[in-house]
């Protein structure tokens, strides 16, 4: 039987990288006594998979991991126990059973993620936001009205030109931040800073000189009851919970 865990990552934990968050959960499962299943062999490991890695520095209200259980556990009890052994900055908000079929597995169904990009007073602190300049209003719509948005995508191996416009599903400039709804997952994935940098260049600001803090709001799967390219998504914990 499988379960999906949703958690928040905030505060100083934003400096803990993805692999270390995985290690954190492996140890937390043991401390909390969650009856998680193991693989076989000489070095058995927990059957656990994370939905979508989160970059260092980014906070989140919607992180997911799926685990396989060897016996039933009450979801509320599991949430309580995990939070009891957690640290400030990692909070489990949901624990639910998911179907055992492969189709529902967290890794593969991820299709989008939503973010809030917050303008900062300085790069020194993610906790001190700054109001957007008057001149930025309406610019997000203008930015999106472009035919294409070509950026330089850097990977470890190469740099490629890519049109990111099709991967931006929504972008709204509101009082407290720029809200983004972007493609995510193994097929295509767009990082929020790439969008904001392109936006800053578009409005004539220096991307390296304007500090932002990024916060992930949630991760989504495609709503299978809708047509494939409809851009209708549901949060991972609504898929089957």
């Amino acid at each position: 039987m499988k379960a999906r865990i949703k958690f928040r990552k905030y505060g100083v934990m934003r400096f803990i990288g993805h692999l270390d968050v995985m290690r954190f959960f492996q140890k937390a499962m043991r401390r909390a006594g969650i009856p998680i299943a193991f693989t076989g062999g000489y070095s058995p490991h927990m059957i656990m998979s994370f939905a979508q890695p989160l970059g260092v520095g980014i906070t989140s209200d919607g992180e997911y991991l799926d685990i396989e259980l060897k016996e039933e556990i009450d979801p509320q009890e599991a949430v309580r126990r995990l939070n009891e052994v957690s640290v400030e900055g990692i909070e489990v908000v949901n624990f639910c059973r998911i179907p055992d079929d492969k189709k529902s597995s967290g890794m593969t169904i991820v299709a989008a993620a939503s973010y809030k990009a917050i303008l900062l007073e300085s790069a020194g602190s993610a906790d001190v936001p700054r109001a957007f300049p008057e001149s930025w209003s309406g610019k997000a719509d203008e930015f999106l009205r472009q035919e294409s948005i070509v950026v330089l995508k850097k990977t470890k191996r190469s740099e490629t030109q890519a049109d990111i416009k099709p991967m931006i599903y929504q972008m709204k400039l509101e009082e407290d931040g720029i809200y983004l709804f972007l493609a995510a997952g193994s097929e295509q994935n767009l990082k929020p800073d790439l969008v904001i940098r392109a936006f800053l260049e578009f409005i004539g600001e220096d991307p390296d000189g304007v500090p932002f803090h990024y916060h992930r709001i949630d991760v989504y799967a495609r709503n299978i009851s809708e047509p494939k390219n409809s851009h209708k998504f549901i949060p991972l914990d609504s898929v089957s919970c």
């Binding site: 505060g11 100083v12 934990m13 400096f15 803990i16 990288g17 270390d20 290690r23 954190f24 492996q26 140890k27 937390a28 499962m29 043991r30 401390r31 193991f38 000489y42 070095s43 058995p44 490991h45 927990m46 260092v56 520095g57 052994v85 640290v87 400030e88 900055g89 300085s122 790069a123 020194g124 602190s125 993610a126 803090h213």
Partner: protein, 621 residues
């Protein structure tokens, strides 16, 4: 929410920001307005090394059990952050509160190896504390050192207010109570140091004076303050079961060197190898009760969530309840996916059986530490391992399916001849031959015998403390003899050979047996930019040589002469229980190649009986 000492911009720029944010599971937070003493506990190396150290976890737990004390941790900032902190004048801070170290009452530094000495200066310096103890005033923390290197603290004498000599579990309460008392009475720093000097095991270097003879050796070493004792008695926990042990050690977020539960099963060693400092310092051997250890294992695994547990001690095979403990661990935890990490055990039927249970035979290797290649040389160092035992153990393991062996040796031991050096490759080859005696269809491909040699460094409080060392060229030449001999072996294709760099050996030798005059060399090396000297990528031998030249200190004086029987050593003021007479007797027996039996076979009258503990009283209960 906790406010971090470093801002986001810095944390996102440096390598592994998790080193500096604290917040780990089981780290201790307290309300600083409700405590009397703030203690910063430091391991002067990078976080991943420091977090792997059991001693700090023991003391951290012990201090924090006191309601009036808050003990926090601090490690050396890595070179990237070191630069930023200097440029931006950010003071060094403790991980828990993120408060500057300068605000603390104590800065405790564990001193585990000689090559961390410049990192000690880095920690003191970045904290904004004057490097020289005599320049500190009432607003500076008391800088106290502990750990194995404090058995000859003299090269660091100028930088420390106090040294704690011995097991940390004994007199810290007295030391902290005296501090509180002094603070309450409005006493000065000097008043406190005087009080501390009266506590057993506490050495206050500024209350002593050394006079030297014309030849550079010590003429006299005497207290200059009436509160300071002429001899400092090593502190020892007699009962290891009835003392502190951390049931909930701090669990790091990032992978550290020792990322597991560590169970210290005993302290000390009965063997009496003549090169081994730990074997003399931690006498008498004391065991921890096996039932207690079982409880500790369960509690610690539960509280940390670690997926691995390892046993820790010198010569673990000598722990009398080993079989029971290991069997328990396997039965209790193997099905829970807990990895059981065995320390290097003597190879016999039992150890091969348990190793087969807890690890993949095809991937794991067997380790032997014969330390010397020839039987003559092994007799000199009193290593009771014979060629027969090694070949027999290796044979059993090969029959059981293993095909990888690691061998550890030392070069440059006292009385070593070319024959002794050549015996190393020959022994490795004999092990390989033993492997190929097994019929082809019953063995697992080729065998892999990996031999490593390090250069022997004489340490204080060992029978070899009188021995001379060699210069760098001689060490390299000895390694070349071994390498050449390896190339002539029948099974050379199954043999691999690694040797250690000689530069560091020379420096370690100087500081291991050095005196107070070396403080200025360490300071000069630090000023020239030496830091993280135990890391090959940052070690800079040229700068060290420059530091010796600039200060006019001669390496040869410390390394290249055999000491006279009546020479006063810089560490003679410390009494570890083992007498200098015993050590000299052992030195003489070594020269004659006579072996001395271990403590359980026969008491050799080393002197440590006066502590009335452990193996010394075992058979008399």
């Amino acid at each position: 929410m906790r406010k971090l000492a470093l801002n986001d911009e810095i944390l996102l720029k440096i390598e592994k920001p998790a080193r500096y944010i604290g917040n780990e599971v089981n780290s201790v937070m307290k309300d600083k307005s409700k405590i009397d003493i703030r203690f910063a506990m430091c391991f002067p190396d990078v976080y991943e090394i420091g977090m792997s150290h059991l001693g700090i976890q023991i003391l951290y737990d012990m201090f924090n059990r006191r309601e009036d004390v808050w003990c926090e941790r601090v490690y050396s900032p890595w070179t990237d952050l070191d630069q930023i902190m200097r440029n931006e004048q950010i003071p060094l801070f403790a991980l828990e509160s993120q408060d500057p170290i300068k605000e603390f009452d104590f800065l405790g530094i564990t001193i585990q190896y000689e090559m961390c000495y410049t990192n000690i200066l880095q920690v003191i310096d970045l904290s904004g504390i004057p490097l020289n103890a005599c320049d500190r005033n009432d607003s500076d923390p008391i800088v106290i050192g502990g750990g194995p290197c404090t058995y000859n603290p003299e090269p660091l004498a100028e930088f420390f207010d106090l040294f704690y000599i011995g097991d940390g579990e004994t007199v810290y309460d007295q030391l902290l109570d005296a501090y509180k008392e002094n603070k309450k009475n409005g006493g000065s720093r000097k008043d406190y140091l005087r009080k501390a000097a009266e506590i057993e095991g506490i050495y206050v270097p500024q209350f002593y004076e050394t006079e030297y003879k014309e030849d550079g050796t010590i003429a006299s070493f005497k207290p200059t303050d009436s509160h300071a004792k002429p001899v400092i008695q090593k502190q020892m926990v007699s009962n290891l079961t009835d003392t502190y042990y951390p049931m909930a050690p701090v669990v790091p977020f990032i992978k550290v060197t020792q990322d597991r539960v560590v169970l210290e099963i005993q302290r000390g060693c009965i063997r009496g190898c003549r090169f081994c400092q730990a074997g003399m310092l931690y006498r008498p051997t004391r065991e921890r009760d096996v039932e207690t250890l079982k409880q500790y294992a369960c509690a610690m695994l539960k509280n940390t969530g670690h997926e691995e547990i390892s046993l820790s001690s010198l010569s673990s095979s000598d722990y009398s309840q080993l079989k029971e403990l290991v069997t328990f661990l396997i039965e209790e935890f193997k099905d829970e996916g807990i990895n059981i990490c065995l320390p290097s055990l003597r190879i016999d039927a039992f150890s091969l059986d348990v190793m087969g249970k807890v690890q993949d035979i095809r991937k794991s290797s067997l380790t032997f530490a014969p330390e010397a290649g020839s039987q003559r040389m092994r007799d000199v160092i009193n290593k009771g391992l014979t060629e027969e035992i090694i070949l027999d153990g290796a044979g059993q393991a090969f029959e059981g399916g293993w095909n990888k062996v690691k061998l550890y040796f030392m070069l440059g031991l006292p009385t070593e001849t070319e024959e002794d050096m050549k015996a190393i490759p020959r022994l490795a080859d004999k092990i390989a031959r033993r492997y190929y005696e097994i019929p082809k269809d019953r063995r697992n491909g080729k065998c892999q015998i990996t031999t490593s040699t390090s250069f022997f460094i004489p340490k204080p409080f060992t029978p070899f403390q009188w021995a001379k060392m060699y210069d760098k060229e001689e060490y390299v030449a000895r390694a070349a003899v071994v390498k050449h001999e390896f190339q002539g072996q029948l099974n050379r294709k199954s043999l691999k050979y690694h040797w250690h760099e000689a530069d560091v050996t020379v420096l370690e030798g100087v500081f291991a047996r050095g005196d107070r005059r070396l403080s200025k060399v360490i300071l000069e090396a630090y000023r020239l930019g030496c830091l993280y000297d135990s890391w090959t990528e940052t070690f800079d031998n040229e700068k060290w040589m420059q530091a010796f030249e600039n200060t006019g200190v001669d390496i040869g004086f410390y390394n290249l002469r055999e000491r006279d029987s009546d020479e006063i050593f810089p560490w003679d003021f410390i009494d570890i229980g083992v007498t200098k007479d015993f050590l000299y007797r052992e030195w003489e027996r070594a020269m004659k190649g006579e072996v001395t039996p271990n403590c359980r076979v026969r008491c050799s009258g080393c002197g440590v009986m006066k502590y009335k503990g452990g193996v010394c009283i075992e058979s008399k209960n």
